[in-house]
Symmetry: C3
Subunit: 308 residues, 3 copies
């Protein structure tokens, strides 16, 4: 999430009432989660195990719960609860505003785009030209939709990431300040759910076609010209490269990568990253040729045993 | 389902035109299905195999298709079709009333609760304080929602149980007269479906967080501080104890129990009750350590065979 | 898809600007995809591998990308791109028209049918008597619904088939001109998606009951008195005969047949056609007795190996 205008280190420190190390006027451009952080961004870290990763990341400002030496050219915000203060910053720059109407006045809708009845379109949504948005679709604030996009009925773009911190008093939600981005020529089936990014974008690449009841988690990047069949669930922070084909009821772990042109057979659980250009099957995932051979060998062995 | 005021045995017998054994003024407090029946309730039974179970249950009145000896302190309603007459009673005390408006005038909505556009809220629904109900959500009659609850877009609370009697002329539906109850601090993702109880409540415990496209069946009780990931389906009459974690695309049989603190890995089919404090994987369900060891042993054996 | 009035070969040829072989006044009744084509219909074929199948099908007119000998009693339309021209014909006779209201004035709704708030009903939809359509349901154009049908909240009838041609410049969608047909006494749960046929009907037979979050693909025929549990996905062009029971989270390949009275256990992947009257389990699919025996044998073998 980028701020509309840059903020100074001092301004952010005052907002969250934190000590800081760095110049008062140190410029901050946005706030992001560790998976997607960029230069100019704040990142947060609250566990010693991840201090080094955060301090050495692309982040320029580290919101941290210990006074550590400040890396050269960076700044620190010292907080007793970085998670809480990360949420405070997100909420300040991207507050949830209740809708007054079904289609926000701040939504920008391109020429020849058809919005069917009972659709909800939130604040600052942008929709390109020649799109069809079918009935009962929900599009949360800040979503970005390209040209020639079709979204079938009852699909939801931009619900919150499923991302909680386990505290003794209950789960504490990381507030999602990111967006959903659909590039040109994307088709989405009915009753899909595409979650917004925690701080970055969840992106569906140009020309990708998605069937009904598919779930796509937060901050996931899906490439161009992919096909994803019905009832597949892609977890958060996944990278799917171009021209991947995924059949029905597939699931994935979070944070994995599926290489270019891979084919994932139905009901597979993609438990780890897989290379492109091959076909995969089973849970845990294997190359489909190997998995099917293994299954045939077992059957053969059991039969031979019975006959002997 | 409890009646608003107690009914007498004679009143109920007249309603369904049934013979009865017991005092005219015998007090009846409600009507419930065998899984959840309580003292003061009517239960129904129409198969000799289950007569004893019904007669010895907590139920005070047994709606039955045979004249049997009446247990002490209880009463009997004799019917040629207890299923039909159970439906007649449910319908009489909890009739379906067509909605005139999107948000019923009888709904009670707490302070600081935000209802986004295109939401449907049925009769006698109660929603607490500081909730957010996102667009295109459907909340059926009589649902009860606590404080600080978030429900994402297009989720459905309170559709009917999937519960049919197979008759020669077609399936006959058991009419659902129960409710959905969400306790405080529950979050529900987008496009979830939580069915109402047949006669009792389907309950999601305090602080439990549920991801997108999750299905929860009728009369299921989910404990406090559980996490349930996307596209999981929990059948009817299931008990999930506190602090259970369920990953994506898990399914369960009906009527089972998942013990406190259990972890169910992705795509598992929970085919029987499992103890708390352990991790489970596979269909049929096994402890995940055992299942993964078994899979590794098979691979090793096939490899050794090939090499020999 | 049948035309409202018959068309002549010459009229269709002019519409798509194609050469033709056959009499100018040759009568054409409709247009259909190869799986469901009938006498009087146009079918298209654009790959030499399928020429014979198309030429020998029930179709009366073959839209083809090569001048081949015309079968007796049939006609040919010669096109450089039959897929494009098939779409052109579908669009001409069944154009997508943006809705002006939530319930189309051309919809026919029977007596005693209740339409709850926030429902969308498209053009030329027909709904019988004594139905209940719950809130936020979406019913696309031309759907046909019988009597005594219940559709729970947020279900979608008639979204497009997931059917694309892979062209170098991107996926090209086959435009769906078919319908969804629900026969009498069908119940659909919440958040289901039933796709329309590409050119024929997707049909749910009399008295069939379907649970929440079920997906049914295009041109699939489901028989009478079937039960389909939650989160099952049936692919396109599937035939499910009468009185089939399918438990939760089952998936199927496209084009297969499930025989009368078969039972498919939870999470099964029906990878090929299966005979009626038996029970099935696993992915790839096996008879459940065999599959469970095989699993037990493997466990026994591994145990015996460890003990020896």
């Amino acid at each position: 999430m980028k701020f509309n205008n840059y903020q100074t280190l001092k301004q952010i420190a005052q907002l969250i009432n934190a000590e800081y190390i760095g110049d008062d006027n140190f410029e901050i451009l946005g706030i992001n989660e560790i998976h997607v952080v960029e230069k100019g961004d704040i990142v947060f870290v609250d566990h010693p195990k991840y201090y080094d990763k955060a301090l050495n990341s692309a982040a320029t400002v580290i919101l941290i719960n210990k006074k550590v030496p400040c890396p050269v050219g960076k700044a620190l915000l010292i907080s007793d609860d970085p998670f809480r203060d990360f949420n405070k910053i997100t909420n300040h720059f991207n507050p949830f505003i209740a809708a007054k109407v079904s289609i926000s006045n701040s939504a920008r809708i391109g020429e020849n785009t058809i919005i069917q009845p009972n659709v909800f379109i939130g604040n600052n949504v942008s929709i390109g030209q020649n799109c069809v948005i079918h009935p009962n679709v929900t599009i949360y604030d800040n979503s970005v939709i390209g040209n020639n996009v079709t979204i079938h009925a009852n699909t939801v773009l931009g619900a919150d990431a499923f991302y909680y911190k386990n505290r003794s008093e209950g789960f504490d939600k990381l507030i999602s300040g990111g967006r959903v981005v659909l590039e040109d020529n994307v088709d989405l089936g009915a009753s899909c759910t595409i979650d917004k990014g925690v701080s970055g974008d969840t992106t569906i690449g140009k020309g990708t076609k998605i069937d009904n009841q598919v779930h796509i988690g937060h901050d996931t990047k899906i490439g161009k010209k992919c096909l994803i069949a019905s009832q597949t669930g892609i977890a958060g922070c996944v990278i799917i490269e171009d021209e991947v084909t995924i059949w029905g009821q597939v699931g994935t772990n979070s944070g994995i990568t599926i290489g270019k042109g891979a084919v994932i057979l139905g009901q597979t659980g993609v438990t780890k990253s897989v290379l492109g250009g091959k076909s995969y099957f089973g849970t845990p995932v294997s190359e489909s040729r190997e998995k099917l051979k293994e299954m045939a060998e077992i059957k053969r062995f059991l039969k031979s045993r019975k006959n002997s």
